[in-house]
Each structure stands twice: as C-alpha cells, then as structure tokens.
Subunit: 417 residues, 2 copies
C-alpha cells in the first residue's frame, strides 16, 4: 500500500543542509539578543481556544487551527453544534499572545522590566501560496514594563545588530504610531468605524501610488471631501514629516516621541542603516496601541520583521495596565532571502570513515572513528562501496569534505576533491 | 476582567533559568550526535490524522490531539457525526512516524544509509500527573537503510557518548529483541492473541517480582501449564542469558545478534557503562520488529531513553521494505534529573548597566553598553532605582554576576556580591 508521504499542506520538511543554515541563523540571532540582555523563554505551541479567540489578532483569528475536545468533553449528540463547542485548544498564531499570558503567569519570578526573547513556530491556516507557510518560525524580542522610548530604541538597535551579525545590510526601519494614524484619519473627517478600512488602503501607497489610494477610497464610497482631506494630508506629511502632525490633531508628545526615537537611533547607527517616519505604515494586528515599526530589506515587496507597542494586552489578562512592546523577525523570509543569496554556514568540516563490511573488526573501526573525532573531525561511519570513486563523489555531493578508508593504525584523513 | 493565565493543562512555561539549562543540555546532545555523523532534520509537529491513526503506536493512538477541519470541509450538519469526520490533522505523538514519512518523501535527496537526528516536541493527551507532560521533548537518532548490527552498536555507543558529555554516569543499557520475546512466549504455549497481554505482565518483573508476575498471569486467567512454562523460562533465561534461547524456538542468528551487540559495546565501553540482556524488556510501541533497548539511570523506576528496530514502518508508506532503527533520549526525564542534581550551566557571566532615567544622555548610555559588550560581557540595560542596594540584590537573585553604573568614560564593571 502506497500512501501520501508529503508533509501536511503548507508545512515543510527540512533536509540537513537547509536545517543547518536555519539553525545557524537562529543561533546568531539568539546569541546577539542574549548578548544584549534579552532572556530566552519558551511557551507551549498550544493555548486555550478562548484565549486565542479573545485576543485582538485581526484576520489571524480566522486562521486558527482548533484542537478538538477529548473523551467525554466532546459531545457530538447536541443539536445545533458549532465549532466553538467542539474545541478547547488551538495552535498559537503568534508569540505575543502566549508571551502576555506567560508574563501574567510568572510575573513574580521575573525582573520588573522583563526583556523577553522567544523563538518558536506559529501556525496559521492561510491559503497556500509560494513563500507563505502554515507553520513558520518567529524570533521575538519584547520589553514588558517599560513605558518610555528607551524600549523602542533598544528593540530597534538590537534587531539591527542581529541582522548585522548575519552580514545582512541594506535593511532599513520604518516607524509610525497608531495614535498618529488615528488622529490624522479622524481629523480628515472619517469616523471611527471606517478607520480600519481607510488604513488598509493607506497601507498600499508604496504599491499603488497616490492615485491608486485615491481611486480605492472613491471605490469604497467614502465622502469626497474626506478623501481630498486625507490625500492632501498624505502629501503634506510626506513632505514635512513629523513636524506638521500637530495640525492634524496629533498630540505634540506623540509626534516628538517618534522623531526623538528616529534621531537617537540615527545617532547610534552612524549611517549603517536607515530609519524613517512612514505615515502609511499600518500593521494588521488590532492589539497595537502606540509605536509600530517594520524592517524593509533591499527592494523586497514585503517586510522581514516588524512590531509595535501593545500596552493594553496584558491588562486584558490581569486587569492591571502594563506597558509592552515587541519586535519580531520574520525568520522564514529572512532565511529564504539568505539562501537565495547563496548564504554559507562558515567553517563546517565533515568527514567520513569508510570501512569494509566483510571484515570482522567492527571494534577497531569504532576505535579509529573515536581517534579521528578526538582530532576534531565530525566523523560518520559508512560502509565502503565496491565502486569507491562513485561513492566518494556521492559523499562529496552531500557536503562531506574529508574521508578516510579504514585500514589500520595508519588510517589518515584525506580531502574529498 | 481577570482570566486564567496558566499554560494549557499538562504543558509548561519555561522561565529563563530553566530554559538555559534545557538549551544547554540540548546543545550538548545535538553536538555529540553531529560529531558522530548524525544529520539534524526537522519535521512539522502536525501530521495527517490518517497517517497518525494508521501507525502502530499502541496506546498512544488514544492520546492524539486532533485538529478540526476548517471552512467548508467541516460539516456539522451530518447525522451520526463521529470524531474522525471532523478532524483532518493531528499533533504527532512521537518523532518516529514523522521521520518515516520524511524519509519516504525525501529518499532521493538522502544518503543511502541515512543517519538522522531529530529534536522536537511531541504531544500526548495523557492523564495529568507529576512528571508526566502533555507536550514534551524527544531527542532521536535513527539509522535508516542499515540492516546489520552496526546500526544497533552505533546508536548505543553514540547515546552513551551524549550522556557522558553531560557528565551523566551510572547509566546502563538493557537490550532485548521482539522476536525473542515472541518465540519464547509462544513456545510456552500462549497464542498470538495473548502475546501483548503476557508481555505487559512480564514488563513488570522488576517492580512486582517473579511471584507478582505469576499472580498477575493467573489473574488474567491464562492456562496454568503455560504460566508454569513461562515462569520456568524466565528463571532459566535469567540464569543462562542468551545461551539458552534456542531451546525456546529462538533462531540461533537472532540470539547471537544480541550477544554480539553486547560484547562489542562492552569492548568499546571499557567498563564506563553496563549493557545487559533483559528478556523482560518489552517497550510499548507496536511498530518494533527486532532489537529493542532502554537506558536505566541510577535506581530510577523509569528509563531515560529507549528505542528499537522498526523494519516494517517505512514499507507501510512506500511498499518497499527498508530497515530502520532508532534511539530516543527522554529529554524531560533527563533534564529533571539533572536539575534535581543541581546541574549548572558552566561559565555564564551576565552583566547589567544601570543608568539614570532623568539624564538626557541615552545615546551615551547606549554607546557605553556597546563598549562593555565588545569587551565580552552580555549586558542588559536597566534603569537605576532609588534604593540601589535593594536593586543590586534583586539583580543578583536573577543570576546577574556583574554590574556597572553609568557615569562617563570611566564606567567599570564590578562583581555583584
């Protein structure tokens, strides 16, 4: 009987070579973050379904994998069954909701300002398409308990360091603030109910241009005057930056906060990377409350990371308002880009010790392998094939760089080339 | 609104200290395995539900977390709904089933004898009890494509090396063969249908003793003569080891295979660890077909690892018989033991740079932190509290070993003690 042996739709098997690159990138990111004072934690991939559905995850809530109740709790005999009756658990769709729960659960065992580092898989039942996965890795740093801009600045410069440690350059940060978005949009005459819809269109500015934005807003049947207002606001903000925001009802403090973050980060970066204010940066999650940011990389049409302030989420759990902010590296996109650029894991020497299966000297072969390992080689035992040339070529194609053929005490490693 | 912030039942949050130990142990194990020629791969935690339910996972099949179908595929209006109609996916209960699928899916891209290393979480909806988790980590090495005892020997000695690298001693291996179990049990008069039930009782010998085994078999209402036969077989095998197995219908080759593995491993171990034949070793998985083994550690009543041959599983996927064997370290039990023994991660120096929030010199603070990091410290930025003594004590209790208070170019690290 033959059965389907593909991984589940949208999820992936990782072969040794790709896994090696992924692990190397992950290690560099983790080490950089640790070096900068972030502490690695771990949360389960499974969360209670009410907790997931009750979070402000925007569109992601529709993409949650729900886990069925088990045993007696699963009642299939009821009338008018609906999904929610049948599930008690779900797979997490991000790392921020679990982190907030983690923080509330372990608050007394953490430093008052907690700098968290979390790396793990998240799951979204997205429509399958190239480069979009249903299980993917995120690398998040978060600072919980720090209301001031220090948190924003630390997250941005530490993320820049992680990218630099991977020899990634040509990246830049875009920054905005949800409060700025809201004030400007409302001051143009739109009402609260249309805010999200207007934002979704503004978000497309770099793809569809000013004309495209205008057309889409007209198509959405918004008031013509409001549309004119927002277009002229866009143009003015584009030109003058954070300077002009107060004329659109933005608090001075909020505008200054963004411009101060930008100037301190610029001073630190010494031109090695860019950071700029981008009024059309929106970000999908409903839980953001203040600063939001994204990393652009080269001329890719998508960001390789992003994040923002979510000062309300923890309060929803424990009824005590605690400021929080996070930055997530989109691991999959970053790794895919690095692989496209032919990224190599440095300095990996892998050796193979070939031995003759017919000989009754397995103990000696094992001892010889140990000896070679003690000389610093990573050694695989492999049975010698009849056609040794063909076998050596095969081994080379699998990334081995050294080989030895077991003979006696004189067995020496040679280069595979 | 206050909500439940505990992790899902049977699953755990890992705080920074415990996470550090876990990651250290995992890294040592992975590096040892890689050094010995095993290649790290990764498979998704989610698998098709039919694939999971169709595997011979014994009792574990009852413990699978099932994921509900999504969108139109979820039909709740049907009559006589049952669980299987509603789920299309599930969480894996071990790493062996995904590995077999992985191998079949990627066979052409792997070496003919594939030495796999896989580390990941598996999920079982067990009844919650101390030390038993519903999400736990396994570290598996497997050799696929090697029918001979070389595979058994490599797995055993490599696992021993991983434990030794963690300074774990006092461990020993027990080895048996499913074919030996079967031949002996059947030769005593039991029939095929009762094989599993007899094995479950034999497995308890070290807990309930020979009398206990006899009583339980009587209670299970087996034929008195068969019970006498198996008890006398137990006693003889206990005394004479593999020597007497052929008198119970075991093939000479099978008996010699086990004793040869034992003698080669002993020669290699030079007395650093024990390995012995144990006829009462059973192991629960239905998919084992030949050699099986477990690691005992000190006088713990449970094993900290185990595995065996599963020469049929891959054949079930692709209709071509391919030999396979695996060894899994029970990561949770091992780590829990190490933590009980007060295991310390070597050589971790963590520093904190305290700065004054009121000062308008964040850029200088950031530069100073960079300077200290470049001197080899891991540095966390932290705002200086009014009561500095109390704050230093708190930081020390969180594992920081060095501190500095930002002043100017002279800022120096001091010991926290």
């Amino acid at each position: 009987m033959k059965v389907n042996v593909n991984p589940v739709k949208g999820m992936r098997d990782f072969l040794p070579n790709e896994k090696e690159i992924r692990d190397y990138v992950e290690t560099i990111i983790i080490n950089t973050y640790k070096q900068n004072g972030f502490q690695l934690i771990e949360t389960p991939v499974v969360e209670n379904i009410e907790r997931l559905l009750g979070s402000k995850g925007g569109e992601n809530l529709k993409l949650i994998y729900k886990i069925m109740k088990r045993g007696e709790k699963l009642d299939l005999t009821r009338d008018n069954l609906n999904e929610v009756d049948l599930a008690d658990l779900g797979l997490r769709y991000d790392l921020t909701v679990p982190l907030s729960r983690f923080y509330c659960n372990n608050k007394s065992k953490l430093l008052p300002v907690f700098k968290s580092l979390q790396v793990g898989n998240v799951f979204r039942a997205e429509r399958a398409q190239k480069g979009r996965y249903r299980s993917f890795k995120q690398c998040d740093i978060d600072i919980i308990g720090e209301p001031s801009k220090t948190a924003e600045i630390e997250l941005i410069i530490t993320t820049a360091k992680a990218l630099t440690a991977l020899n990634v350059s040509n990246f830049s940060f875009r920054i905005n603030d949800r409060r700025i978005l809201k004030n400007v949009v409302l001051s143009c005459g739109f009402n609260e109910n249309n805010f999200e819809s207007v934002c979704i269109t503004l978000d497309k500015l770099d793809k569809i241009g000013m004309d495209g934005v205008e057309k889409e807003l007209i198509k959405k049947d918004f008031n013509k005057e409001n549309i004119n207002n927002i277009i002229s606001a866009l143009k003015e903000i584009n030109l003058k930056g954070t300077e002009c925001l107060t004329t659109y009802g933005v608090e001075k403090e909020v505008a200054e906060n963004v411009s101060s973050i930008i100037s301190i980060v610029k001073e630190f970066s010494k031109g090695k990377f860019e950071i700029k204010f981008d009024f059309t940066l929106v970000r999908g999650m409903g839980y953001y409350t203040g600063t939001i940011f994204e990393i652009s990389y080269k001329d890719l049409g998508y960001s390789i990371g992003g994040g923002g302030r979510y000062d309300e989420m923890i309060g929803n759990f424990i009824g005590e308002k605690i400021p929080a902010i996070g930055f997530s590296i989109g691991f999959e996109r970053l790794v895919n880009e690095l692989i496209e650029e032919n990224f190599k894991v440095p300095n990996l020497e892998k050796g193979v010790l070939l031995y003759d299966d017919k000989s009754d000297n397995l103990s000696c072969v094992l001892s010889k392998a140990e000896e070679l390992r003690n000389n610093g080689f990573s050694i695989t035992l492999y049975k010698k094939a009849k056609k040794i040339g063909k076998q050596l070529n095969q081994l080379k194609s699998f990334g081995f760089t050294k080989f030895a053929i077991f003979e006696n005490d004189d067995t020496k490693m040679k280069n595979l080339d």
